[in-house]
């Protein structure tokens, strides 16, 4: 007996068959004695089709109208899902983000949730209904306009509702069996992780793991909502993400949770920066003012002979051009020699809280890369993560070598990808 929030992504409800399959799973949870709230994304490619339509009528669609358009997608999937559940003999009601009380700021296309007031959801549950809620959307507090939450928005809706309803668990259904020790498309012997802490999951998410987005995990950690990531196709137990081990099999935390990689970034190096106070600030102020998000930042000691140093950072490839243009404008003021831009890089990260108390981890990581003949270009660490930048060509080899060196390989190839490519 409890309150369960389930979230289904677009690939799980891509067509009528998918919707009917998901409906059965939801009814199962209800039959097990739970109150059930379901957050659903738009069907399969609906959102992309709507974006195409928008491009046809206007090259730069406006934020408010674009959000109004996109939210039609969840409206369709949630209504169909409610119908499919009723057809199985159970009562269901669908609610838009606004009706569900998802209150956001007014930043269209990437709004932040500021409050959740799920009065109508509670009332619907109390009447014995299954409540279906549109993911990815809310209503702005000041203007009462429809907003969308941006990437990973439906996951965030689910966690936010789970927090507001004090749910026992937030189940995120997707097209893989859970979170794996590495990307199963690269490492055939990747293992499903049964349980992982919020902290390790946050590091994996920010290091390239795509199953859960950082934002959603951060929200879950803040409100201490256990997440259960699992497949809507297989019905197997997936991965629990929480403060404490949960589920049927409590277990010890592994030293290393997994290996993540990311090939979506590029590297910028500012060469020959005078090593004096204020120069780095000037550089990163210019980057910040051009609204570019940066990831790793590395600066080494300057050469004593020249008093010059190099500063490197990584950033999304899509923002490379903007960053370089912003930096060129500061060249005279900063007095650096040159800029190097390199988009043929990959980032490989080893994540695990256990490395705090196991001093040999860094050495073993670098040895594994060395044995695989992979050169390291940048290194950056946090308390529970080590990241390196390598050539993009080396990434698969490097991930497999590290995964194996830390004893993460499973006996068998266990990873299966069921549906499309996820949300």
């Amino acid at each position: 007996m409890g309150l369960v929030v389930q979230k289904y992504g677009g690939s799980s409800v891509a067509d009528a068959e998918g919707i009917k399959r998901v409906a059965k799973r939801i009814v199962e949870a209800k039959k097990n004695g739970n109150q059930v709230v379901v957050v659903v994304s738009a069907m399969g490619d609906t959102t992309d089709e709507l974006i195409d339509l928008a491009q046809e009528v206007s090259p730069i669609p406006s934020g408010r109208e674009f959000d109004m358009l996109l939210t039609a997608g969840e409206r369709i999937s949630m209504a169909l899902l409610a119908m499919a559940i009723k057809n199985l003999g159970h009562e269901a009601q669908s609610f838009t983000g606004s009706q569900a009380g998802v209150i956001t700021d007014s930043v269209h296309n990437k709004a932040r949730i500021i409050d959740v007031t799920p009065g109508r959801i509670k009332a619907s549950l109390d009447e014995g209904n299954i409540a279906i809620v549109a993911g990815f959307q809310g209503v702005s507090q000041d203007k009462k306009d429809i907003t969308t939450l941006g990437r990973g928005g439906s996951d965030t809706t689910a966690v936010a509702l789970a927090a507001a309803l004090n749910a026992d668990v937030c189940e995120i259904y997707t097209d893989v069996d859970g979170v794996f020790t590495a990307d199963p498309r690269v490492v055939k012997k990747a293992r499903k992780i049964d349980w992982i802490s919020f902290e390790d999951m946050l590091e994996l998410a920010s290091s390239g793991s795509k199953v859960l987005l950082h934002r959603c995990v951060e929200y879950a950690r803040r409100y201490n909502i256990p997440i259960h990531v699992r497949s809507s196709f297989s019905g197997l137990q997936g991965t629990w993400v929480s403060n404490e081990p949960q589920g049927d099999r409590p277990m010890e935390q592994a030293i290393i949770s997994g290996v993540a990689h990311d090939t979506s970034e590029a590297k910028v190096t500012v060469v020959g920066v005078p090593d004096k106070p204020g120069e780095a600030a000037r550089i990163f102020r210019a980057i910040a003012d051009s609204e570019v998000n940066i990831d790793m930042v590395v600066q080494n000691v300057s050469a004593a002979s020249t008093g010059l140093t190099d500063i490197s950072f990584t950033l999304p490839k899509a923002e490379g051009r903007k960053a370089v243009a912003a930096l060129e404008k500061t060249r005279a003021a900063v007095g650096f020699d040159s800029l190097r831009y390199d988009d043929q890089i990959a980032k490989i990260s080893l994540v695990g809280a256990g490395m705090k108390t196991n001093p040999g981890v860094t050495a073993a990581f670098f040895e594994a890369l060395s044995n695989a003949g992979v050169n390291i270009e940048l290194i950056s660490t946090s308390e529970i993560r080590i990241s390196v930048v390598t050539r993009a060509d080396d990434v698969n080899e490097a991930v497999r070598a590290v995964h194996s060196a830390f004893g993460l390989d499973s006996e068998t190839d266990e990873a299966v990808v069921y549906g499309g490519t996820g949300r």
Copy 2:
């Protein structure tokens, strides 16, 4: 200078090209110094596609969820239209039925409007925006659930908003040039009507003319909102529907407004009904209890020799089976002889307020039919309409003969149908 409400049907916004064409027309009205409110239907076949999807997941989709689903269609078209207008350099904001203040009762799939509170629309207009409103939908007063208005709902939304905003005119854009003296697909020489009174338009609408629905005209008459029915393709002056002649060319009302026909009905005859008080009531109570809507009802004097009479009525073909079943159950109580069901009929109606003061109209009507060799099976009249039932096979011939006999033929074939079939 004024306030104009424009309504565009699904065939006018069937694709990106259509949306851009409509956007230009809207901007034109704005440039002419008007405040502009636009009511828009779902794009082309969107609603049908959504209905198909619903059928796939549930054979009997529920009212509430079905409405939630269908309203996604207008959400898409209105957001795209707002974007297209902005792309032309004008400000536009889209509003759902709920946001526009369209308050309805709770009868899903065919809700009635009980109030319109267009505060947000007024505010948006005052800021200089063009306001785009989703047709066909509202929000229920008691439960705050999304509702749809059923057939012709977008036209009704437009007229209701025009009334609430005290608009100067409600322009209904469609895929024909206006209301014609007969269906142009049947009568090539049908003429566009420049002006028609609410009363005559109501009779035409309830006699089979499909350009405007009875419900929308009734609403416009109650609040005295002039309607201008015109083509979104040609830009020509269309048909004004109002109390008084309007537009550039004030004109006298014609004796006969037009000839309408309807082949969607069937005829039921109850044969051998005892001619005594209460029998007709018993019959029509049974029909009403089975929720069948009937149209014409005809009973002639009974034969003196038998004391028995026949009662005939017409009804939508789709409801024929239900009505016959209901009547069969009353056979013993009423004591009638037999039931005859005939779905190979057509109804032809001559409409015009002028017939009140022109006694020869009925005779001329029957003579025209007789000359065309068309047999009359039932006759029913109102103050400004004469309707007859004939064989379905005779309908086109009959309509052309009557149209010609009353001098309605134009010199040329002027009717053009531009787009699809509209709503």
